[in-house]
Symmetry: D2
């Protein structure tokens, strides 16, 4: 009944993510890549990066992928709530692109006049043998990433359960560069191949290295959460009549890196 | 900057609710009652109970009340996230009405093939001096409730932080009646007057006694939560394409009481 | 295998204590009272109170009682660690005696230059269906206590899981009297009869009312905890060579009441 | 007032340990080594390993080291309770020695008829900006360890906050070898030099690689905890009169490795 083994659950719990190798075969990977070739992209505002928006709405193939049990099975095991799809997109990145660090269990969020160390949209817990993660992403890799120079996924060990903030204190000490470039004692790289899936607890502080090699770095991503979460959209704070809905960012590196 | 005093925060934290007496004066209470007199109700399916739907949309007076700082101030102190309004309604109850017990931190929720003891829509936490409650209601009382026979609000002590379920094990022991009628060692009544506000952590197991007196029992209720919560609507499990959104009930007394 | 029923575990978890009525019959109660009549007492420094020290060492009857399964069974269910006996004593109290409030999950403890809101000797947790309480007492009542004037056990609801301190902020607001005399919105009394047992999580903020009736108030108390706890003895802070062992009090009412 | 910087606290919290490089200079290291040369050892039952017992009692130099602020400062920052010294010893290891994995936040402990996933002697928590770890060791390295073949300290990422057990499920799947030899996806090595100090939360699952190089691997270790902990000594379960005191092992690799 469980899609994940005991050891996979242990790894997801203790590290905040799990790589499942070879979930999709080369023909499926090729089909996903081909499907994306014909689709429009937008500029998400990150250097050398193109974004494919709302995959499940614009592509039957990706609508099917979003509900594929090879993704949903592991997700159900770590959300353990009635599930909904929050978002689906793809990213195509070229040489020079980067994704700065974000996430982190206790990074700060400013409210009017107060600052808090919890973002409930990523606050996860455990009870009676089950994990409860409100915001989980599956990353379906469509190209190999075998070195930091390929722009590898990287994470800060244990940050999904951190009790302290890291980014704002670091900025207050005068650091204005990214962990991605500076390194950090527990910043760790993850290497994958096309067809691998990375299941991610969004509470983990993660990003990618700066891509320094040629060729595309391509992946599709699907976000899932409990049914009472709204579809993912950024909200720039509260609306006056408290009718606006969306996710408000806590501290991320973009707030501090120059 | 904080609307609640240290002692009020202590009480809300340790008991799961807080009564703030005399928030609204008699003229305001009269205005709210008069406003309701002219509005339509629906049958919510509970005996001797009429429900006024979506108050903020149909009444400017209640739209204003939903954003009144006398309600929002305390709510902000216990949600500590960017806030949104999840719902607003009123209930008019007569002799014979009752509200069975619901809530409870660890009551069970059935998913396909598994049963879990967490409903993340009410799972609250604490960090660095602040409470984080995802689902908080304010009850604005518009009539006096001075005895159990008036249908008083009642709660099970400490149930908002319970580690065990109460209702399903009780039903499995063969009990098919309500705590409201049977009593329970830690079932406790709360008496209020018109104009009082009760701020409620929805994780608390609460209900009301069976109303045995004449006259109306009238209150307006407003639910608040973080911006990433969808507007409150009941959802009967997942939808097939994971596009449905809403709140799924964990065990409540209606599941077991005959 | 479990000594406590589901409902008893639920009550202990949610309220921080459990009364088990009629554990000891009247003959046993009489035997315990008779045994105490012949034993020496000391002055513990509380008005109208005599203390019997180290019962299990000086009395075979109480050595046996300390290990009676009617006490150990419930204790094992809420400690869930290899067990040891930390202390055993009796208290005989007369008119005018009182026990001020102590315990509380987040009351403050001063270390050199810092103040902390955790006393690990009472910090309890829950995991996979089991409670883990490091310091649990059983109170064996040897007289009836049927009103506050009898000096009833009283507690602050939910204080065993409080996230905030109560006593020092209260003192800092200028209050120098006891909750026992002042009352508190959630201060609740417990009435018992001779032969009843009260199982207590020492994290609960508790005390007794001021005894205003004639006659003795008599009970025997046994403290239990994991094997890695030292026998209970008060320690007035750290020793210079870090060789001293004992329990250091966090804030209690005696620190503030005049 | 804090001995550890923000970043050091973040690292200790998220990884369960902290290396502080160069705490002791080469002259001090030489003095510690020389002191040990003249002292007796015992056979602790591990291959190619000699143990120096109770350093603070038998050596004024090590008695002083146990109280050195360079050790106590960091320890105080992560225990945050009145402190006591639980143990002090040294280990001299030669080619062929190994230390199998032990620790882990949720490894199992058998009680009479039940099995529990908490050992309160290592159960740590966080509250209001402070860590509370009941059992912390400082390892003072007296030789360089620069590769796995030197028998490096190794740990399982995030195991100090694991919600699941690892070792018994692994044994039940039929694995009878050590993570130290088999590897594990998140088993990570730590390299140090003589004079470095490693501050360790004993909840971390840790051990060392098998030493395959010549020369001694030498370190002194001091354990600290709250004053209500007894001095460290192994206890083989409860004693019949509940008077025995000591630490009872939960699952460790020695239980399963053949």
């Amino acid at each position: 009944m469980s899609a994940l083994s005991d050891e996979q659950l242990y790894l997801f719990d203790t590290t905040g993510f799990l790589v499942i190798p070879g979930v999709f075969g080369s023909e499926e990977v090729t089909a996903f890549r081909t499907e994306l070739e014909g689709m429009d992209t937008i500029d998400p505002g990150f250097a050398e990066t193109r974004r494919y928006r709302d995959l499940p709405s614009v592509s039957p193939l990706f609508a099917e992928l979003a509900l594929d049990e090879r993704l949903l099975g592991p997700v159900r095991d770590v959300v353990n709530q009635p599930l909904r799809l929050l978002e689906g997109y793809a990213l195509r990145r070229s040489r020079g692109s980067v994704l700065y660090m974000h996430g982190g269990n206790s990074e700060l969020l400013d409210l009017g006049g107060r600052s808090v160390g919890r973002d409930l949209s990523i606050t996860h817990t455990y009870h009676d043998g089950k994990l409860f993660c409100p915001y989980v992403k599956t990353l379906v890799y469509l190209s190999d990433i075998q070195s930091p120079d390929d722009g590898s996924f990287c994470y800060v060990q244990g940050s999904h359960k951190a009790n302290f903030p890291l980014l704002r204190p670091r900025a207050e000490r005068g650091v204005t560069t990214s962990l991605v470039d500076d390194g950090f004692p527990t910043l760790t790289d993850v290497f994958v191949r096309a067809g691998d899936v990375l299941v991610l607890n969004e509470a983990l502080m993660h990003g990618t290295r700066r891509k320094l090699t040629d060729g595309d770095r391509l992946l599709a991503a699907f976000g899932y959460g409990p049914t009472y979460l709204t579809e993912w959209r950024e909200l720039d704070g509260e609306t006056g009549d408290l009718r606006g809905a969306g996710y408000v960012d806590h501290d991320v590196e973009e707030d501090f890196v120059r």
